[in-house]
């Protein structure tokens, strides 16, 4: 704070001449010369005042007098605004009073003591002005965040017997496979809104975002909200809150930009938020035109590499648009997915992990399609039938390891089943029939190749470990409300589940469940082979092939 520093140094400097000044005054002789010296300092103070004029608008009149007061109380009736000075004066009050009695030179204690009151009463309008000023808003935004984290964290460190360990919950997860770590819920922004999208940040593993639907009970609040939550700290409020006018149906962190969040909305707009600016509305929006999307955007993701990446969005009328993140005014490419000359009513989309070209899309007409974006036959390539209900989620295999399992795809549907497909022979490998309600979402673990999680409308989260048991879920967790979205964090140890009441529950997985063992990949290959054979035998027995295409 340059003001305080310079003032105090000057005060210290003035304090030097001040005391010898007062004693010579008593001696009545040398005082006059010293007075001229002090006048010189006064002019320097005046120069400083002009600097303050430029900065302040209303408190201009007070400040110069305050500055004058600290250096040369003899000149004017001081109004000390500087609290530090005031306090110094207060503490030295008896001495100053003596000076006042001795000569008219140094006054300022009593008026100084009175003065700190005045500016504070005066500045009510100023206060409002300051509260609305941009620099203040920026300061408060950042500082309040830090302060809330600090507030939420403390208490633990001074308890002697606990040894200062922050997280005491980690010790308990050994007993349980899946433990609910915490629930993120904001009263203002997530009440009564369904969680429509979940994503974990690739840059900061503790950040996750949740996109929310509209709140029917509060029509004046913005329809689409995206909150970024922080798992590392205990504070209960979101790190960032963004909103837009239309309900957000999908969202993701921009993989190669640490500050951008992409969202797809119900109206077909693709919006971009930036957390560097203090505004909560999107910084970029795609147009609402027929060249872009006109139906709800059900998936947005950033594909490619650091230097050559694109944003791909898909809407429920089967349109796939490729955008550049710098320019959302028009898509770079548009691809309409059609099957038998009718658009595909898509519900979900997923890309193969290392392949920006091939994707799998699930649709409402009970089947899944594979497609590719570029090439001679851009569009839908093959169809995978088998489900008896609209497909709600598709997931291509995520974990990378010695064996390439990119051809393994999971699909969840409203027919209460989860199916495991192999894209090599376009057939079902296995059908999981454990659930007893619509399966809303599923997600592969990014570290364990045999682990995936399925969430259903009863709020149940089933963790399947294919190498342990294919008939029964290895672990199970329960949420209070129907889970709409579930996502593993990039470490594979946390799972976020968003439900239709606006709550985001974070579950912690035991290490034994989440981390792969040495032979996990080999075992998985064998398991898949066994499953395939079993399905084939079942099909032959029933003489009713469950999947299109040759199984054998």
């Amino acid at each position: 704070n340059p003001h305080l520093k310079s003032e105090q140094s000057e005060f210290a400097a003035a304090g030097g001449p001040e005391s010898p000044r007062s004693s010579p005054k008593r001696e009545a002789g040398v005082g006059a010369k010293k007075l001229t010296v002090s006048q010189v300092t006064q002019t320097t103070v005046v120069a400083k005042e002009t600097v303050n004029y430029c900065k302040e608008t209303q408190t201009m009149n007070l400040e110069p007098e305050r500055d004058v007061l600290t250096y040369d109380e003899s000149e004017r009736e001081g109004e000390g605004v500087n609290a530090a000075e005031a306090l110094a004066e207060l503490q030295r009050m008896p001495h100053v009073q003596e000076l006042v009695a001795a000569g008219a030179a140094a006054d300022g204690a009593a008026p100084v003591a009175a003065e700190p009151e005045k500016p504070r009463e005066l500045s009510d309008e100023e206060r409002q002005q300051i509260l609305l000023s941009e620099s203040f808003v920026r300061f408060f935004d950042k500082t309040a965040r830090v302060m809330e984290r600090a507030l939420a964290e403390d208490v633990d460190i001074f308890i002697d017997y606990s040894g200062g360990s922050g997280d005491t919950e980690l010790g308990e997860t050994a007993k349980q496979q899946v433990k609910q770590q915490r629930v993120f819920y904001d009263d203002r922004w997530s009440r009564n809104r369904c969680v429509t999208a979940l994503d974990w940040s690739p840059h900061f593993p503790e950040l996750c975002l949740a996109a929310y639907n509209a709140n029917e009970d509060a029509p004046q609040e913005p329809d689409g909200v995206v909150c970024v939550w922080n798992v590392k700290f205990r504070k209960d409020s979101p790190e960032f809150v963004f909103h837009c006018q239309s309900p957000v149906t999908s969202a993701c962190f921009a993989k190669f930009h640490r500050n951008l969040i992409v969202g797809g909305t119900y109206s077909g707009q693709v919006v971009l938020w930036d957390n560097r600016t203090p505004r909560r509305t999107p910084v970029q929006r795609s147009p609402l035109s027929s060249t872009a999307h006109t139906q709800p955007v059900l998936s947005v993701c950033v594909l490619g590499s650091e230097n050559a990446h694109n944003l791909v969005s898909a809407s429920s009328d089967g349109r796939l648009c490729t955008w550049s993140l710098d320019m959302l005014s028009q898509p770079q490419e548009t691809l309409d997915l059609q099957r038998q000359n009718r658009p595909v009513p898509a519900t979900c989309l997923d890309f193969a992990p290392s392949d920006a070209n091939h994707f799998v899309v699930g649709s409402e007409d009970y089947s899944m399609y594979t497609g590719c974006r570029h090439g001679a036959k851009a569009g839908i390539m093959d169809a995978l039938d088998g489900h008896q209900g609209p497909v709600s989620a598709v997931a291509t295999h995520r974990a990378t390891g010695p064996v390439d399992l990119g051809h393994i795809v999971l699909s969840a549907s409203f027919d209460w089943t989860v199916r495991l497909w192999s894209l090599r022979d376009l057939g079902t490998v296995h059908v999981f029939e454990e659930t007893s309600d619509y399966v809303m979402d599923l997600c592969w673990s990014p570290v364990n190749p045999a682990l995936f999680c399925a969430a259903d409308a009863l709020g149940r989260l089933d963790f399947w470990q294919l190498n342990l048991d294919t008939e029964q879920a290895a672990a199970r967790a329960q949420c209070d409300a129907a889970v709409n979205r579930c996502r593993f964090s990039d470490s594979g140890l946390l799972l976020g589940a968003g439900d239709h009441l606006g709550r985001l529950t974070v579950f912690e997985l035991a290490d034994s469940l989440a981390s792969p063992r040495q032979e996990e990949w080999k075992l998985l290959g064998r398991t898949l082979h066994e499953l395939k054979q079993a399905t084939a035998e079942l099909a032959a027995a029933e003489q009713d092939p469950p999947g299109v295409g040759p199984i054998r």
Partner: protein, 98 residues
């Protein structure tokens, strides 16, 4: 409005006794203490202390700067977040909880 909301949220936090926003002159812009003399006292004392700590940090290493100040006392904890122009002071009482 957002400032108000955040202010109230901080105030509503467990154990928080009071929140004060001080500007660089030492004038409290916003304070949750009903007693204005207490506010003034906090402002003056805390600002001096923040300034002194900042000078200490900068004297030790000119490239360094003060980012947060936490004063833990027997009865409560004062957290100060300084900035170039403003100061946010929060007084919290420790609540024993497992």
């Amino acid at each position: 409005a957002e400032v108000e909301e955040t202010f109230k949220r901080i105030l509503a936090h467990k154990g928080v006794v009071g929140v004060i926003i001080v500007n660089f002159d030492g004038i409290p812009i916003r304070s949750s203490f009903a007693d204005s003399s207490l506010t003034v006292q906090y402002c003056a004392l805390i600002q001096q202390l923040a300034h002194k700590s900042r000078s200490a940090i900068r004297d030790l290493d000119p490239g360094n700067d003060l980012t947060f100040l936490r004063i833990r006392s027997k009865k409560n904890e004062i957290m100060v977040a300084p900035d170039k122009d403003y100061l946010l002071v929060v007084v919290q009482e420790p609540c024993d909880q497992p």
